[in-house]
Every structure is written in C-alpha cells, then in structure tokens.
Amino acid sequence: MKLPRTLIFGGILFATFLFAALASFFWTPENVEVLKITSRFKLPSVINWFGTDHFGRDIFSMIMVGARTSIAVAVVAVGIGIIIGVPLGLWAASRHGHWLDDLIMRGNDLVFAFPSLIIAILITAVFGPSAFNAIIAIGIFNVPVFARISRGGALSIWNLDYILSARVAGKGTFRISAEHILPNIANLLIVQGTIQFSLGILAEAALSYVGLGVQPPTPSWGRMLADSQTMISFAPHLALFPGFAIILTVLGLNLMGDGLRDILDPRIRRAQK
C-alpha cells in the first residue's frame, strides 16, 4: 500500500523534533545551563545556528531541550484524555436518554466549563506552578473533549440498522461499543487526537509562556517566547525560532493524523482502489 504524502511529510517533521528531544539527553551543541553574557544577542551563524539569547545561551540547543518538555507533556495529557474520555463517551451513548448519560454529559460540561488555563490557574494558586500540574490541567481538559466526540459519533451509529441486527444477534452493549462503534468512530478520534496532541503542545507552550508551566532553568519553548517578548523589536530571532519549533511540531503531528486517517478509514481506502 502506498503511504499518503501527508503521513510521510508530517512523520518526517515530527520525527525530527522527536529525534532532537531524544538526542538532547546525550548531546547538545552547547550546554544550555551555562550563561555567556559576552556573546549575547548573536544573530544566527555557523557556530550558533539559531543565534544566542539575552544570556548568550545557544538557541538551537535550547530548542532541542525544549522539545523534550513539549512532547512529554502533550503525550501524557492526551493519554489521560483518551483513556478516561473515550470509554465515558461510549458508555454515555449506549445509555442515551438514560439518567446516566445525562449525568456523564453534565459532569463533562462541568470540566469543560473550566478552560484548561483556568484549571491550571486554580491548581497553581493552590499547589504552585510545575510541569506536573500543567500535565494534569491539560489532561483533565482532554477528557470531556474525547467523551463528547465519541458520544456524538457513537449516537449517530447506534441509530443504524446493523447495530439493531447486532443486538438481535445477541451482542451486548459492551461488545457492540467495542466491535462496531469504536472502529467506526476511530477516524473521528484520530482526527481529534491529533488536534488535541497539537493543542497539548500549544497549551504547554501557553502555560510556560505565562509562567505556570515548566519552571526555569529548564528550557521550554513557551518560556523562551515569554523571555523574548520585551526584546522582539531589536532581536526578533529570539521569538522566531521557538515559534517555528512549535508550529513545525504541531504541523507535523496534524499532517501525520491526516495521513493516518486516510489509511485507517476503510471508506477512503475503498474509494482509492
């Protein structure tokens, strides 16, 4: 089978950052914890590919280390959303009209009603800012997203005739949800999953940007952007490179998601044959 171009291109983009993140554990061009005030605000050059920041730190090295933070936070946060949200949504759909459905969906509305940043703010106000609290904040917010998407998708499928046949054939609610509903909403979940993954990267950057995420001296893309803000008029490269890193990682993930959907959705695959 021929792989979709979006999957290949997105995969390469994301793999680049994943590789940078993993490599940063062993090697970076320069140590990001060493300050060299004498060589600050250097423009991109052969020695410092992306230039240096206001402390003379190598921006390329910082982006490598920052990739770790972003990817780790997003992976865990999306995992929390899928593991809790999808079963909840499927269960709610199988009990449509029942008070349980209503209870689950209202519970979801409740979590939904707290935008992730506000959860983070509440958590930070109580427990103090950290990467762990950022993960929890983003993860909690993913739960209702996946619950809603899977419930919405499942509801329309529950009305179809072949589900009725499966019921007549004696399959229980759980088996129907797992064998018939889940595969049919998988493409919805993958599309939503990539959106949430990219949103996770964006949310981590946003939280670090306002100082509620990963704490210095650990480099993070959001933190780098926050530091660059007051210097953007005379050193725009400080803001450009972390921004590009975020955009390319998110873009790569989204393209991968699109490509995966093309492969996974049997309707699209049939149409291509």
């Binding site: 209202r106 009603a113 506000i118 109580v126 919405g152 306002v210 952007l225």
Partner: protein, 315 residues
C-alpha cells in the same frame, strides 16, 4: 421542545451548583487557612484574625459557602483584599473588555471559517481545496500568543498602524476601542478559524457520503445544490459543537492575549489576583467565567435540538 429546554435548564442549574462547589472547595483545600495564605508568612496574628473576620472564615464551611453563593446571587462578590473595592466593581470594569474581545474573535473566526470550509468542501481535491487545507494546517499550528507577538512586530512596531497594547476605554470612542481590540481579536481568531474551517469541510464531506445526498445527486441536483439543500443542515451539528467549545478556548485564550497586549480585562485581573494572593478576586472571576461557559453550552444544546429534531424526540 419546551420539555427539552426545561430539562436542560435544570441540568444547567445543577452544573452551576456543582461548579460553585468545586471552585469553593479548591480554595478551601489550600494548606493552612486562606487568611494566612493571603497575608504570607510574616503576617501578625491580629492581622490574620482581622482578615479571617472580614472573610467570614469564623463560620462553618456550609454557612461560608451559602454566604458566598447568596452574595453572588445578589451581585455582592465580596471586597477585594488588595484593591479594597467591591470585586463586582473590578469585574464590571473589566468584563467590558474581555467579553467584546471574545465575541469579536468568535465573529471573525466564524465569518472566515464558514465560507472557507464550504468552498473547500465544494471543491474537494481541487487546487482551491488543497490551498485552503494547507493554509488551515498552518493556522491550526500557530500559537495565538506567538502570532500576537508577530502581529505587534509587524503592525505596531514596524508599520505603526496599531498600538502595541493597552486599551483607551470605551468613553474615548467606539472606533478607537475597537481598533485597540483588533490585533488581539485577530490573534485569537485565526487559529480558531482554521480549526472551524477544517471541521466544517470534513463535516460537509461526511454528510455528502450519506445515501440521501447520493439520492439527491441521482435525482439531478448538482454537487453545490446537494450541499446547499441537504448536506449543510446536517453538517451543522458538529460545527455547532465546535463553536460552543471555541467559546471556552477564546475565554482562556483571551486571558493570555490580554497579557500580551496589556489589556485590562478579566484575564489580567485573574493573574493579578494570583500573584497578589487575592483569593476573593480569583474565586469570583473564575466562577463568573465558568458561568459564562456553562450558559453558552446550554445555548448550544438548545440550538442542537432546534437543528436536529431527532435529538429532542429521543428525550
């Protein structure tokens, strides 16, 4: 429909009650008591006692909760500890920046996304569609606060068309105020518009695969006619959900964007409340934002039922 609206109204109230309990408890579980948390470690015992008295902390948890709720219902959000003015005054002064900003951004986002998504769906696979999809891919990937910084760099610092931040106040003229909200609103709206356009497109394409659309095509309708008469209404269901979701994204996004542009809105108020440990302000503003988002969800639910009769018959 009336019955549907009524049951939704009941669950709206239950959600609000639950939300208030959650917010109240989060503030309650702060280690130690809120008064010493707010005053810091060097506070004198008599200062703490005075603040405890002012906060009504000497009553039981239940009575404190009901005092807070009944206060809010009558518009009394308490007195800000740091500003020494009623919290309701602080909120009233700032809500007229945050709310217009969110609505402005939602309007820009929807106005861009609808036609763009529709055009892409109608031209599936053609260069127009591919260009739109490529552009929206990029739009989804751009962090709004980074985009805001770039907008400031281009339109405020270099071109000098807009100010880099601040808000003149509505009494300085409508156009001037709208102008100062324009860069923030664009920064907030573009990533959301990209998401919405993509959902719009895929939702229309999904409905185009349905049998009834094929039947309509077989009866001689063109692709555009089939989209316009049959697919669009059915495709609106997921699109409406996303618009409902976007409101909370916009409210949260506004908190950050307000900080980029130094807009004195609710977002900045929350951050000031956090740094100054003014929990009375934090508690009230968070509750207000949650109230706004739950109410919007309620409206989306009702609209859902109006668009899709199947959903209300199920009840």
């Amino acid at each position: 429909m009336l019955h549907f609206a009524f049951t939704r109204l009941i669950s709206l109230s239950l959600s609000l009650i639950a939300a208030s309990v959650v917010i109240f408890s989060v503030i309650e579980i702060i280690p130690g008591d809120p008064a010493s948390f707010m005053l810091g470690i060097n506070a004198q015992p008599d200062t703490i006692a005075a603040l405890r008295d002012q906060l009504g902390l000497n009553g039981s948890i239940i009575s404190r909760y009901f005092n807070w709720i009944s206060g809010m219902l009558t518009g009394d959000f308490g007195i800000s500890y740091t500003y020494r003015v009623p919290v309701s005054e602080l909120i009233m002064a700032r809500v007229w920046i945050s709310l217009p900003l969110a609505i402005y951004a939602l309007a820009i986002s929807t106005l861009i996304a609808f036609p763009v998504g529709l055009i892409a769906a109608a031209n599936r696979g053609r260069p127009v569609d591919l260009t739109i999809m490529g552009t929206t891919q990029l739009g989804v990937a751009i962090p709004n606060f980074w985009f805001a910084m770039i907008l400031v760099l281009i339109f405020a610092i270099n071109l000098r068309w807009f100010s880099a931040g601040g808000f003149p106040g509505w009494d300085q003229g409508f156009l001037l105020s709208i102008k100062s909200l324009t860069l923030p609103a664009i920064a907030l709206a573009l990533p959301q518009a990209s998401i919405l356009a993509r959902i719009m497109r895929s939702s229309i394409l999904d409905t185009l695969d349905q049998d009834y659309v094929r039947t309509a095509r077989a009866k001689g309708l063109t692709r555009s006619q089939a989209i316009w008469r049959h697919a669009l209404k059915n495709a609106m269901i997921p699109v409406l959900t996303i618009i409902g979701m976007q409101f909370s994204f916009l409210m949260a996004g506004a908190i950050i964007i307000e900080n980029v542009f130094f807009l004195p809105g609710l977002g900045r108020l929350i951050f000031q409340g956090i740094t100054q440990r003014d929990l009375i302000v934090v508690e009230s503003v968070v509750m207000l934002l949650v109230f706004a988002v739950i109410t919007v969800t309620f409206i989306v639910d009702i609209t859902y039922a109006a668009v899709d009769p199947r959903l209300r018959r199920k009840q």
